[in-house]
């Protein structure tokens, strides 16, 4: 894991049913609709993987360089501060209203604008059942 990659690698993450599983452990068709794992695994979208892993890869590069130059304590402290700043004890709320200025400052994006800041599609009415499911997931872990 000592890589200094600037650009995300080409491998794709395997698809799992864990993110759409219901209380029985199977894929929840009622909530998420039909799903085909075979189709998802064979679909390779280079631009999607690149964009979704971009920030994580760049972040990894910086933390790895910090580790090599300053020692293990440096990335450890930075990650600890981020974890403290992103801790949210409240009930899960719709993501569009959550803004964490402290986290933005720690991640270095308090003075820049990205596509994600103004181009996110407006999510209309979310089902109220989502809150219960999120609370269940949150408290059970």
């Amino acid at each position: 894991m000592d890589s200094l990659r600037i650009v995300p690698a080409r491998e794709t993450k395997p698809a799992t049913t864990q993110d759409t599983s219901n209380s029985f452990g199977l894929h929840d068709t009622l909530q998420y609709g039909p799903r085909s794992l075979a189709a998802e695994v064979t679909t390779s979208s280079k631009i999607k993987d690149r964009l979704e892993n971009w920030e994580a890869t760049q972040d990894n590069l910086k933390l790895q360089m910090h580790r090599q130059v300053f020692g293990l304590h440096m990335p450890m402290r930075l990650l600890m501060e981020r974890k403290l700043a992103s801790h949210n004890p409240h009930m899960p709320v719709l993501p569009q209203s959550q803004s964490n200025l402290h986290l933005d400052i720690l991640m270095g994006r308090d003075e820049t604008l990205e596509c994600a800041d103004f181009m996110m599609p407006v999510s209309e009415m979310r089902q109220p059942l989502d809150i219960h499911a999120d609370m269940e997931k949150k408290l059970r872990m």
Binding site: S36, A39, E40, T42, T43, S45, K46, I47, K48, R50, L51, E52, W54, E55, A56, D59, R82, S86, N88, P92, L103, M107, R109, E111, T112, L113, E114, C115, A116, D117, M119, M120, P121, D134, K137, K138, M141
Partner: protein
């Protein structure tokens, strides 16, 4: 989600990816994004930079906009011409303009052209060329006049005279024949107009008028529609019908005025009317 990610995310929704792959495997092609033909140029002269562009936006074989603006504002002393997909160039330059303003407020200094160039090239490289924006970026900052060209995949060049777009070869031919260093403003402006006109007349994707922008150390002058070589000819005959050409057969007038009678009870009526009872 158990722990929310600290990252912002791509900003795009890829949930149609599986469906699109399925359709393309069955032989149904994805719709192609229309790219606009353009001629954009930039050149260095004695006092600064002159940028030029044509004003036609095309949608395949149809002219979508006869007088569009292709020279976008980045900061007061930096401008950017955009070729390629029109929406991509507009949004990219607007985004970089906002980021440059935030950066200038943060550093407290006048913004530099290399900053805009670096922001643009890093963003375009991240999108691997899917953002179809070919840009000519020019400006005068504390280090002097700078002129850059940025291709859709993120590669950049720093040159004294550049052309981009479908009419770039026609315009570059004019530049190669007549550009020389340290030209005067009038000569440089004539050269830029000649290059854009070469693109307008020899390339189907470029047309209409010539826009120019002169950037010097002291101020920036935007010359919108500087040359109009394609003015529409006035119609030779008048196609207005003379009054009385068709006879009036029936006339019916309906009044839409509603009659209102306003009676003032307070104010003027207070002297003769009753005073308010406040006991």
């Amino acid at each position: 989600m158990a722990t929310a990610s600290v990252y912002k995310g791509a900003g795009f929704d890829f949930s149609n990816e599986v469906r699109n792959t399925f359709l393309t495997e069955r032989g149904i092609p994805l719709p192609k994004a229309t790219s606009t033909g353009t001629t954009i140029v930039g050149c260095l002269f004695k006092d600064g930079i002159i940028l030029g562009a044509d004003t036609r936006a095309t949608e395949g074989p149809i002219v979508a906009d006869k007088n569009c603006e292709k020279i976008h504002y980045i900061t007061d002393n930096i401008r950017c011409c955009g070729a390629g997909t029109a929406a991509d160039t507009e949004f990219t330059t607007a985004l970089i303009s906002s980021n440059m303003e935030l950066h200038a407020l943060s550093t407290g200094r006048k913004p530099r052209v290399v900053t805009a160039m670096t922001m643009l090239k890093q963003m375009l490289f991240r999108y691997q060329g899917h953002v179809g924006a070919a840009l000519v970026l020019g400006g005068v900052d504390a280090t002097g006049p700078q002129l850059f060209t940025i291709h859709p995949h993120g590669s950049t060049d720093k040159l004294p005279y550049v052309t981009m777009g479908s009419g770039s070869l026609a315009a570059m031919a004019v530049f190669e024949a007549q550009w020389r260093p340290n030209m005067e403003r009038a000569d440089a402006l004539d050269l830029v107009c000649a290059a854009i006109s070469a693109g307008i007349f020899n390339d189907l994707g470029s047309g209409s008028n010539v826009d120019a922008c002169v950037i010097t150390a002291s101020h920036t002058e935007m010359l919108r529609n500087f040359v109009k070589p394609n003015e529409r000819v006035q119609k030779e005959r008048s196609y207005q019908f003379r009054r009385g050409t068709t006879a009036v057969k029936k006339e019916e007038i309906r009044s839409l005025i509603v009659d209102e009678d306003i009676t003032h009870l307070t104010g003027r009526g207070a002297a003769e009317g009753e005073a308010m009872d406040t006991s």
